[in-house]
């Protein structure tokens, strides 16, 4: 039986290779961006992760062609949106006549931030994602309107700020005041949602590296977010990806920006502690 299954898997892998023009992932490849920024795409799992020994960036599961797009910023279609994010950064808006640049100078002043988000915000008394910090600046300091979670300007700004930390190890705190939010996210990760009764773990922990129909399952890491997807040709926020994955279990999904998705983001980010910040990554 073992033999038969091996044989058939091999032949279906062949059929697949034929159907996709032979584009298989080189899972052993290393990622160095622009010839100088070394990205950790595989490393030992953080201690809190009981069921995995190694963590892997989604980049390692993509085809050679998709992998290549991320190796040079001239080829990375996500970089156009980073440029647009810089325009937003410099745009004066709101009753206080300020832009992001008025208070923060250049975006490089926020180097390192992406690697530790989401994190506990003492003043607000809750865990904050980058979007929440951005919206606080807009409403409290600029006198401008909050962006919607998936607004183009919001996603492009998060890409601009994230790319400043590219190559730095993800290092999200899971203890202290953030712990209960982290526990909530962990519980969600293992909850079997929807009519298909599938949890994040069913696909991204138990079955990563397996194909589910035409999709090569990764570990569902978020170190590359916001990611440029070839499928919709724009940058996509973490919560939009979560929303799609929950919807695909035939479940009632959660809203981007909801407390639930913030908790899930903290937990999923912590599963990637040790991988490099990779945003804006390129995925299919």
């Amino acid at each position: 039986m073992k033999l038969t299954s091996l044989k058939v898997v091999a032949s279906s892998a062949l059929a697949l290779a034929l159907a996709t023009g032979g584009a298989q992932a080189d899972q052993e490849a290393d990622l160095i961006i622009n010839g100088d920024t070394e990205i950790t795409v595989r490393t030992a799992a953080p201690a809190h992760l009981e069921n995995l020994s190694e963590i892997l960036s989604g980049w390692t599961f993509r085809t050679d062609e998709t992998q290549a797009l991320q190796m040079d910023d001239f080829d990375n279609p996500g970089m156009i949106f980073v440029d647009q994010g810089l325009d937003v950064w410099n745009t004066v808006e709101g009753s206080a006549d300020k832009s992001c640049a008025s208070c923060h100078d250049g975006p490089e002043s926020l180097k390192g931030l992406r690697a530790e988000l989401p994190k506990w915000n003492e003043d607000a008394g809750k865990v904050y994602t980058m979007e929440m910090y951005i919206n606080d600046c807009r409403t409290e300091r600029m006198g401008a309107e909050a962006y919607g979670w998936s607004d183009k300007n919001m996603v492009n700004l998060t890409a601009l700020i994230s790319v400043q930390s590219r190559g730095m190890p993800v290092n999200v705190a899971i203890d202290g005041p953030a712990q209960s939010t982290w526990e909530q996210g962990k519980e969600m990760y293992y909850t079997r949602y929807g009519q298909l009764e599938l949890s994040c773990a069913n696909c991204h922990e138990d079955n990563y590296d397996n194909y589910i129909r035409a999709d090569h399952l990764s570990q569902g890491q978020i170190n590359g977010f916001p990611t440029y997807r070839l499928k919709n040709a724009k940058l996509n926020s973490t919560h939009d990806r979560f929303k799609g994955c929950v919807r695909d279990t035939r479940a009632e999904t959660f809203k981007p920006g909801s407390d639930e998705f913030v908790a899930l983001e903290l937990y999923v980010a912590s599963r990637g502690n040790g991988l490099s910040v990779e945003a804006p990554a390129v995925r299919n």
């Binding site: 038969t4 058939v8 949602y193 929807g194 397996n210 194909y211 589910i212 035939r250 009632e252 999904t253």
Partner: protein, 159 residues
């Protein structure tokens, strides 16, 4: 075993076949998860079953299982075992149980339950991401589709 008589209504309306369908909650699984009687009260059609197994909007079984006989269908998944020769490993009642609710055979399996209508966390309205509009939900496959799939699986013999 008491099949509920959903079929009776159809019968009174004069809608063709006089068959007794078993509702999802009335299905009786034995201690190993097998289901002895046809869920629709009728025999399955293996040709229809093959369509259900390979079609994304229906059973979509190939998203998780590879089947050599189906090499005309692209992209077979690897999440579940290869189904070649599955009829040598299981009898009809066992296969019916696995398709209707595989969790009765394999505790905690990732395989969805195709003939079940309650007990979900945040059930949705198909793939819309919105809340389910009805409870209980329509099962993923109808009783007859389960029978058709079982009839198809019974053709997967290697010996």
């Amino acid at each position: 075993m008491k099949p509920t008589l959903i079929g009776v209504t159809c019968l009174m309306l004069g809608a063709g076949a006089a068959v007794a369908e078993t509702a999802p909650q009335a299905v009786e699984y034995d201690e190993y998860g097998a289901v002895a009687a046809s869920l629709s009260g009728a025999a399955g059609d293996p040709v229809e079953g093959r369509v259900v197994v390979s079609t994304k909007s229906m059973g979509n079984c190939v998203s998780c299982h590879a089947i050599s006989e189906m090499s005309d269908v692209p992209f077979h998944g690897e999440v579940g075992p290869v189904l070649d020769g599955v009829a040598d490993r299981w009898n009809e009642a066992e296969l019916r149980g696995i398709v209707a609710n595989a969790k009765m055979t394999y505790d905690g399996t990732i395989m969805p339950s195709f003939y079940k209508d309650t007990g979900y966390v945040r059930p949705g309205d198909a793939y819309t991401g919105k809340a389910a509009k009805v409870a209980p939900l329509p099962p993923l496959l109808t009783a007859q589709q389960v029978e058709d799939v079982v009839a198809y699986l019974m053709t997967l013999k290697e010996e």
